[in-house]
Amino acid sequence: MTYWTIFLAAEAAAETTTEGGLFDINATLPLMALQFLILMAVLNSLFYKPLGKAIDQRSDYVRNSLKDARELKEKSEMLAAQYEKELRDVRRQSQDIIAKAKAEAEKISATKIQAAQQEVAAQKQKAADEIEAQKAEAMKSLEQQVDSLSNQILEKLLGAELVG
């Protein structure tokens, strides 16, 4: 505690002297201001300008790079969209072709089936005709045989003179 009072007293003593004290303003002030201005000029050429330029250039570079990248991205997206569209077209075309080919094939097969059926029907007809003819022939020969057999039976029963 005593030091405090002594300190305050010392301060008071210092202030009462003609020279010195806390609020002793003299030529230090303008020289300090001058010194500060010189420091400002020196730091401006050594620090603020070069580094500021570097920072600005870097931000320009980053901005340009970003812009380029964005443009490239847009371009690539456009290309991708175009490719997709082309792909879709091609797919549709191929489907068309497939459908057409399928239809054609069906037509061909239908005509062929029809032709085959007609042929089969014709052959069936022919066979039936043949069977019919053979049947008629068989009938005819059978009739002849029946006639001759009945003649023979008559001959046997009545005798040849009566029949002939």
Binding site: Y3, A9, A10, L22, T28, L29, L51, G52
Partner: protein, 247 residues
């Protein structure tokens, strides 16, 4: 003076004697200068110039090391100026605001971190340059000059018409403000730094070990804040002078 002499002879700790308001005088052409302030400020200036040199010696697009650090510093200063002055005109004022901040910041921290006591100079002791009223008044007056210059360069003498807005009744207060601004700027900085150093010195005088440490840390924080306040206020004043008044 007698009390002072008694005090010096009574002081039991030569390590922690207090010296307030004593200056190491230089005389140049009949002008008196505070030598200790200049010595300390040269040290501060040397640190700043060396840091700037190291930062901008070999500028790369992808920064590393010192360039990275200095770019961070510059970014901080630019942000400060931009916030107060505005996107459009802050660039011209980056050197002024930035140098204010850097000089005050390094000065304050040099006062707290550099063991100045180890260097003996006659009649006084080395300390932060900002604990001398001359330095802070010089900086504050430069700030005043800067905002007047900013306003007059932009609006010509029409700048003074801004004193009459929004109402001429307030003009005297605005004129008064031009005096209180540098006064408050300089005394805030001077008072804070000197008080911080005195508090630490007194505590060291009373309890030389460990106890003053938290106060020293607080002092570092306070020193940084004071530098920021000074630079921010200077930028704000400049921004205010550049502001368009018509709605």
């Amino acid at each position: 003076m007698e009390i002072l002499n008694n005090f010096n002879s009574l002081a039991p700790f030569p390590l922690a004697s207090l010296e307030v308001g004593k200056h190491f005088y230089w005389e140049i052409g009949g002008l008196k200068l505070h030598g200790q302030v200049f010595l300390a400020s040269w040290f501060v200036i040397a640190i700043l110039v060396i840091a700037a040199l190291l930062g901008s010696r070999n500028i790369q697009r992808i920064p590393s090391g010192m360039q990275n650090f200095m770019e961070y510093v510059l970014d901080f200063i630019r942000g400060l100026a931009k916030d107060q002055i505005g996107e459009k005109e802050y660039r011209d004022w980056v050197p002024f605001v930035g140098t204010l901040f850097l000089f005050i910041f390094v000065s304050n921290w040099s006062g707290a971190l550099v063991p100045w006591k180890l260097i003996q100079i006659p009649d006084s002791e080395l300390a932060a340059p900002t604990n001398d009223i001359n330095t802070t008044v010089a900086l504050a007056l430069l700030t005043s000059a800067a905002y007047f210059y900013a306003g007059i360069r932009k609006k010509g003498l029409g700048y003074f018409a801004g004193y009459l807005e929004p109402t001429p009744i307030l003009a005297p207060f605005k004129v008064l403000e031009d005096f209180t601004k540098p006064l408050s700027l300089s005394f805030r900085l001077f008072g804070n730094i000197l008080a911080d150093e005195l508090v630490v010195a007194v505590l060291v005088l009373l309890v030389p070990l460990f106890v003053p440490l938290p106060l020293m840390v607080l002092g570092l924080f306070l020193s940084a804040i004071q530098a920021l306040i000074f630079a921010t206020l200077a930028a704000a004043y400049i921004g205010e002078a550049l502001e368009e008044h018509h709605e």
